[in-house]
Amino acid sequence: MSEARRRLLMRTDWGIVYQNARDGLRMKVSAGANVGERLMAIGDRHYGHIRAEAVDWLERVEMDLGRIDDLPATFSGGMQQRLQIARNLVTKPRLVFMDEPTSGLDVSVQARLLDLIRGLVGSLGIACVVVTHDLGVVRLLSHRLMVMKGGDVVEHGLTDQVLDDPQHPYTQLLVSSILPV
């Protein structure tokens, strides 16, 4: 695949949500512009349309619309993650990569975000590859699970089967190490 083609895929069919929102957002332009940029990157030039889409997507990720013209640098971690998700989904990707989307967030924010991701992925029919070390996130969010150790996949399968009946020593160690609340 050519570099140009790959870049087009990243703007259209793919989405990437980074662990650190600063890697996935432009911190010096407004929230609305962050969403609009993806649309402009694929040729949208109509300001009214871009603005309307930005409003629609910020609503879908449950952002306060009063903040649409504010800079993401002034947002909390949970808001930044939601903005990243809105920015990615606006071009209706079919495959989204998420690297630790909820780590570093307050647990109360985490639960809302997980439910939001699950709902959007389900209703839009998106395929998602998520990297996480939080087994609670794994159980609630994913259908399938791959357990990796030292660069190798040591076990994979249906999420609840791998978590409830782990076969590999490393998976057994992981599952037995979950701290009870």
């Binding site: 109360s108 639960a111 809302r112 997980l114 439910d115 699950r118 389900g122 159980r139 609630l140 259908h143 399938r144 399968g157 249906l158 609840d160 089967q161 409830d164 009946d165 076969q167 590999h168 020593p169 057994q172 160690l173 037995s176």
Partner: protein, 238 residues
Amino acid sequence: MTPILDADVMLRAERLAKSFVLHNQGGVRIDVFADLTLEVRRGECLILSGPSGAGKSSLLRSLYANYKPQAGAVLVRHGDEIVDLCAAEPYRILEVRRQTLGYVSQFLRVIPRVPTLDLVTAPLTDRGVDPDEARERAGSLLARLRIPPALWGLPPATFSGGEQQRVNIAMTFVQDYPILLLDEPTASLDVENRRTVTDLIAEACGRGAAVVGIFHDAEVRAAVGTRSYDLAAGREAA
């Protein structure tokens, strides 16, 4: 070769074996059951019996593909097809669970902070049922299970044990699964609610569902059970 089941057999475990190897505890191996074969037909309620630790829950979880049996097959009638859950791909197992195979666990496990009514509605809307109709069906089932409407908008985390279990039951019984696996659904319920759940199970059998269940309550067993399978003896009990 496509496996064959008699026309009214909904679920068949064939020469099923389950053991656990605990790698981090000196590689201890625990054999739960082996060479286990059983069949459940349309409209039948098979009760798994046996003392605590006999492997009733492990068998039920194996039938749901939540546990991974070491040998054998779990054949499920899924629409017009027969699917072996021990050999099926994950997406296929999820499809079977969505449409054919319902499971009520002993404990409610859900995404935090999602309102109760939404939890019970979700299985229907996931299958494409109109949201308004789904909410209505979910609401009437919650009412039947005596969850007061005042609680519907709240997440179940703060509910009592019995209320959580009834939400759990509602999440499965809100749709008409052809096969139901029930792990002590009535354990933490009072007499009235136990009776409601007994009625729900009997109604499911009445419309032709095949049910496999673990019930500690003798009254429930007598009310819904058609046959029982004794895991300690490894065969069908009288």
